[in-house]
């Protein structure tokens, strides 16, 4: 960014400094470690200077916010105009209990809903399925039918909130239920806003809640993208997720590269349906983790936005800026939370949330301090929400757009993140794409290796986790834990069984046959699934039909 003469002068001066001031200091005060590396194993230098941003071209690499390549942010005014959406992921017990939690969070100032489903729902089982025993409502809310969904959103007008749903295999079913609730409330479908995670690819190597094999899974993801492009213009049909990739053990760089690659795969699968890029690309959304290394995370968010814009423009020839937008949700990193001295987690979540904001996120979830031990209590989730509010209203970081731009260190890191992600993308292209890489176990091995290396560093005390491997204390569990009432399971099981007795079962049979037929003919299943949920066909019944047609995924086991 400076002229050549200036850079030369700085280089000369740096070399002088490196042979005089620096060694003189180090002789008396050696550095704490022989080398410093971030989580992506990038060597971090002692100082960064204008030399490190010598090749940075302001207009083409950074530009202005709201303009290509969007490094500085998607919108011209960023948080000066509108703050990010404060969206707390929540759900436990029955639909009625979670409905209460939703209302509590809205009252406390959250600005969007985010639903956590229990494992049976996520795996497409009704609450009374044998595999659901002991799991109903434990890690999220149990939703087996439209009746449960009606209870979940009771008294919450769907044209006044946007709702995110963390659901993948059964995403078409849960979206269908949401649409049906909207219809009942009289909300026009064009006004339904929210997100279905619906990112089935990452399930195979990260979150691993797979129901069907890769190909039909991608087909279902694409059904939702196509249906939304045609009928639900304000819905984000997919949230292409790095979060789970990271939580499974990937580095920041692997998270970035693998997530963007999944994005490429969905663009390709949707283009194959004959949709024009500009009709669906603006609604693709992303989801990342924010881990502990502050600058590495900020660099990752900025690099992600810039690289996605380039991919959309150069690889897919997008014309409209909105098609190049990477809108992102960020969650602070669950795997960084410690069960030991849990109040320390408030500090971790604050740093991670701040990184997300400085990285320009559109939406944010902050973890609660007790989440290494249980689901959050009302108190802990309030502190987590307050953390966002304090960053938003007290810290001053929202007063200007992309305040860290131009930092020699951050810009060098951003460049490096992007370059290395491009190398990974090339490698996966050469393997034949995302599904081929999954089938080869490439992502799985990369992630497992990183997870193991990270744990070894902690065990060998090369990496300090405060309160866990250093600065430990003897303590009894110092906080009150949320326990899900085991009566919730009983209640929910009898509820779904009563529903099956009382509904019009002739209609149910008819619509299930229709679904079976549509699945075999490879039609877009969304319209049929909407009909099915409206007839109170359960999630488990719909999934069962699809299991018969598509088969079940068999995990590739590797340690």
């Amino acid at each position: 960014m400076l002229d050549e003469r200036k850079i030369k002068e700085i280089k000369r001066e740096r070399e002088r400094w490196e042979s005089t001031t620096l060694p003189n200091w180090i002789r008396h005060y050696p550095e704490r470690k022989s080398e410093f590396r971030n989580h992506s194993d990038v060597l971090i230098k002692g100082i960064y200077t204008p030399e490190d941003t010598e090749n940075l071209d302001y207009m083409s690499d950074l530009g202005f916010p709201g303009e290509y390549p969007f490094t500085r942010g998607l919108h011209a005014t960023m948080y000066r105009g509108r703050l990010w959406t404060m969206r707390m992921f929540s759900g436990f017990g029955t639909a009625a209990q979670t409905n209460q939690r939703f209302k509590y969070l809205l009252k406390e100032g959250e600005t969007g809903l985010s639903t956590a489903f229990d494992y049976p729902t996520i795996m497409g089982y009704d609450s009374d399925h044998p595999m659901a025993r002991g799991e109903v409502g434990v890690c999220g809310v149990a939703i087996s039918s439209l009746e449960d969904m009606e209870t979940l959103f009771d008294g919450i007008p769907l044209d006044k909130v946007t709702t995110s749903m963390t659901i993948n295999g059964p995403a078409p079913m849960l979206l269908a239920m949401y649409v049906a609730v909207g219809d009942k409330q009289g909300v026009p479908r064009q006004r339904l806003g929210g997100t279905t995670q619906n990112d089935n690819l990452k399930e195979f190597f990260a979150q691993k809640l797979c129901i069907f094999p890769p190909k039909p899974s991608v087909k279902l993801t694409t059904d939702v993208i196509e249906y939304c492009a045609r009928h639900l213009p304000k819905w984000n049909p997919v949230s292409i997720s790095g979060y789970h990739i990271r939580e499974a053990g990937a580095t920041a760089l692997q998270e970035l590269a693998f997530t963007l690659y999944d994005g490429i795969a969905y663009v390709e699968s949707t283009l194959e349906r004959g949709l024009s890029l500009e009709d669906f690309a603006p609604r693709l959304s992303f989801f990342f983790a924010s881990h502990n290394d502050f600058f590495e995370e900020i660099a990752k968010f900025r690099a992600a936005r810039r690289l996605w814009a380039k991919i959309m423009k150069e690889r897919f020839h997008a014309k409209k800026p909105r098609s190049m937008w990477m809108r992102m949700h960020v969650q602070t990193s669950g795997c960084t939370l410690t069960a030991q001295q849990p109040l320390n987690n408030i500090v971790r979540s604050t740093m991670q949330a701040l990184a997300a904001v400085l990285g320009g996120t559109q939406s944010l979830h902050t973890n609660s301090f007790d989440e290494a031990l249980c689901l959050p209590t009302e108190e802990s989730v309030r502190v987590a929400l307050r953390t966002q509010q304090i960053i938003a209203y007290e810290s001053g970081v929202t007063s200007t757009v992309d305040p860290l731009a131009g930092s020699y260190y951050l810009e060098a890191l951003t460049d490096e993140m992007e370059e290395k992600a491009v190398e990974y993308i090339q490698k996966i292209d050469d393997m034949g794409g995302a599904i081929a890489a999954i089938e080869k176990g490439f992502f799985q091995k990369e992630i497992a290796d990183s997870a193991y290396r990270y744990q070894r560093e902690i065990d060998d005390r090369k990496r300090t986790i405060v309160g866990c491997n250093e600065y430990t204390i003897e303590e009894e569990c110092p906080i009150k834990l949320l326990r899900v009432d085991p009566r919730a399971e009983k209640e929910q099981v009898s509820r779904v069984q009563r529903l099956r007795r009382e509904r019009d079962n002739r209609k149910v049979k008819e619509v299930l046959e229709k679904l079976h037929y549509a699945a075999e003919r490879d039609e877009n299943l969304m319209p049929t699934i909407i009909d099915a949920v409206k007839a109170y066909v359960t999630l488990g019944e719909i999934t069962e039909v699809l299991r018969k047609v598509y088969g079940e995924y068999k995990e590739l086991i590797a340690i």
Binding site: M123, M131, C139, A448, C468, I559
Partner: protein, 135 residues
């Protein structure tokens, strides 16, 4: 000279949750410590786990669960182990298990319970100390 049989460990994931990061890290650490390790993969029923333990003739079972269903699934697994007469089997568990549940789980015979933040070294030591070595 008689060679000592390596300790055989089954790392198992009961329940529906898919958090296998810990299970895989522990599996690898035990293997690197010289044991034979078999990993079941995700979402195994209690019946499947005990069946695999029998087939693989293991000395130790490590259960990993983060879904909160341990209070339902662990007693069932221990019941099946007893039914099969596997009296020497050492069972340990890891995951999100609240302190208040631990006593109950120890009572039914789960010998070690390791929460988040446990070093792999602690788990290796536990297995070496408790596994009934066979030749």
């Amino acid at each position: 000279m008689q060679s000592t049989r390596k300790i055989r460990v089954l790392i198992a994931k009961p329940g529906l949750d898919s958090h296998d990061r810990g299970a895989k890290v522990v599996a690898r650490a035990l293997r690197d410590a010289g044991m034979e390790v078999i990993y079941t993969g995700l979402r195994q029923s209690p019946e499947q786990i005990v069946e695999t333990a029998l087939q693989e003739d293991v000395d130790v079972i490590g259960l990993s669960i983060l879904s909160g269903a341990h209070k339902t699934l662990f007693p069932r697994i221990m019941e099946l182990i007893n039914e099969e007469g596997l009296t020497d089997m050492v069972v340990f568990a890891g995951g999100i298990i609240p302190q208040e549940d631990m006593q109950e789980l120890r009572k039914i015979g789960i010998k070690g319970i390791f929460g988040p933040g446990t070093s792999t070294e602690t788990i290796i030591k536990f297995v070496l100390k408790n596994a009934h070595k066979r030749t």
